[in-house]
């Protein structure tokens, strides 16, 4: 089965921000939000041995996506081809997925008050076009494809050592891979580590306090009244008029 993934070739990226701009233009992403970003890092090392890189990020379309689990209504879901998408008609903009996302890949769009994020340009991909960022990249640093297809460039790059941004604390199966032969990716990971998913206080209360109480109370009144009805049926009724 198809599983879409992307490889960022860090040897090729020149931090030109073209992908970020193309994405912003295509999806009308308001400043200061991103569906796709390039965060430049300061130069590493001592002259003349200097390395310059940036964190090229987007939604990781995680295998075990915390945002999908956090979404109360099912507006955020994972397609069969692995792409995590948002059904904007079902989204109420509660922000629980934003709290859950370890990568900061989501934002509430102030134009429609719904959550928005990278969807691998799935509408374009289904029409056999490349994602906007891939198409626009001047250096060919973004490679998109089916990682389950052993002949695809993506799966070959992953095979040859491209790795993703996870840590021992947070590993939810991210599917954006980074090809890096200059040993700069550890710096990116150290600067932008995935954070643990946050569950806000009201939802913690919901799960741990309110819901058990409600289950108990509603169960008790339902079965209590059912028992009363059973007793009434068993004993037969008498009218007050009699």
């Amino acid at each position: 089965m198809t599983k879409y993934a992307m490889v960022i070739d860090m040897d090729r990226c020149v931090t030109c921000h073209a992908c970020e701009v193309a994405c912003r233009a295509h999806y009308e992403v308001p400043v200061p939000y991103y569906r796709n970003w390039v965060h430049p890092l300061p130069p590493q090392g001592v002259y003349p041995d200097i390395k310059k890189t940036s964190y090229v990020g987007l939604c990781n379309h995680c295998d075990d996506a915390p945002c999908v689990k956090a979404c109360p209504t099912g507006a955020t879901y994972k397609r069969e081809d692995g792409v995590v998408v948002v059904d904007k008609d079902l989204c109420i903009g509660c922000g629980l997925c934003i709290d859950a996302c370890p990568y900061g890949s989501r934002y509430i769009n102030p134009l429609d008050d719904k959550v928005d994020k990278c969807d691998f340009c799935i509408d374009r991909v289904l029409h056999n076009e490349e994602p906007v960022c891939v198409q626009t990249c001047i250096a060919g640093a973004r490679i998109f494809g089916d990682m389950n297809d052993p002949n695809s460039e993506v799966s070959k790059l992953i095979e040859s050592g491209a790795t993703s941004n996870f840590s021992s604390l947070v590993n939810v199966g991210p599917n954006i891979y980074y090809k890096d032969s200059r040993n700069v990716f550890p710096v990116v990971k150290a600067s932008f580590p995935p954070r643990e998913p946050i569950r806000p206080t009201p939802q913690k209360l919901w799960t741990n306090v309110v819901r058990p109480i409600m289950w108990l109370t509603i169960g008790a009144t339902f079965f209590g009244q059912l028992a009363a009805l059973a007793l009434q049926l068993f004993k037969g009724e008498s009218d007050i008029k009699e």
Binding site: T73, L90, G93, D99, P202, R211, F222, L229, I240, K241
Partner: protein, 282 residues
């Protein structure tokens, strides 16, 4: 004409006795009271009750199905799957939930504004305020149900008994919370953290009403004693035996009003009933 006046006179004599001194009824008196009816609910009230009930049923059915995240989910997966199937897609279910809720809110607000004096204030006065008899009712009724206390020792009740009132308080309070938190979520009125708290309060308020609904339905529709209450929500009327037994204070109030009305009407026809004077004296 004379025969009717005689009948009225008889009725009033019985009323007068029971008004002054509530007591066990003879079989004959029970028969007489059971055949007399009193108006309990107006058409507006009956309509509102059933439209409100229908809206609640729909909103609870869709609302619980909309909660699909496992850590928030209230109903089992098969229930959510059935509801998804009925609506075709979940977005349609959300939109239907919001549409019905807006209709429900508009209806209540409409009643609240135009029926402020006749309905809302009366509802608050009769249904949401508790007196000493109401506080004593619950333990007394509980003892009565297990057969430890005679019906006649239960504190007399107004138009609604304390149990009905307690549920009315829960429903009213929940309605206000739902009417505040619902629009916050549906129309994004506030930051994400406000919406997250609104979700919690929305859930608590709705579930508090659900917790009481089984008691409400059983007591009103199935429990033999209170069954006239169910039919009164259709016809608007109750028989006086029920009113005398379970809502004595309300029965007394209506009777007193009725006697005052009789006096003024009879005065127009220059008829004088000494029994009425007796009743109106106090």
């Amino acid at each position: 004409m004379d025969e009717r006046i005689n009948k009225l006179s008889e009725d009033i004599t019985l009323d007068h006795e029971l008004l002054n001194n509530p007591r066990h009824l003879t079989l004959e008196e029970k028969r007489i009271l059971a055949n007399r009816v009193m108006k309990k609910h107006g058409v507006a009230g009956v309509t509102l009750h059933w439209v409100n009930a229908g809206c609640w049923l729909f909103l609870i059915a869709t609302g619980t199905a909309l909660l699909s995240a496992s850590y928030l989910q209230f109903m089992p997966n098969w229930y959510i799957a059935i509801m998804d199937g009925i609506f075709g897609n979940r977005a349609a279910m959300l939109h239907a939930h919001i549409a019905v809720a807006v209709f429900w809110m508009s209806l209540l607000i409409f009643y609240g504004i135009f029926g402020f004096k006749n309905y809302l204030l009366e509802f608050i006065k009769n249904d949401l305020t508790f007196d000493k008899d109401d506080i004593g009712w619950l333990p007394a009724k509980a003892k009565n149900l297990i057969g430890k206390l005679s019906h006649y020792d239960i504190p007399p009740q107004g138009a609604y008994n304390a149990g009905q009132k307690a549920y009315a308080v829960v429903v009213s309070f929940s309605t206000i919370i739902l009417m505040i938190t619902g629009p916050i979520m549906a129309f994004h009125l506030g930051s994400e953290i406000i919406i997250q708290w609104a979700m919690l309060f929305h859930f608590v308020a709705a579930m508090a009403v659900v917790a009481g609904i089984f008691v409400h339905v059983y007591m009103a529709a199935l429990f033999p004693e209170e069954r006239p209450a169910f039919f009164s929500m259709i016809t608007g009327k109750v028989n006086e035996l029920y009113a005398y037994f379970f809502h004595y204070k309300w029965w007394k109030e209506i009777k007193t009003e009725e006697h005052e009305f009789f006096t003024s009407e009879l005065k127009k026809d220059k008829i004088h009933l000494p029994e009425l004077d007796e009743c109106n004296k106090k």
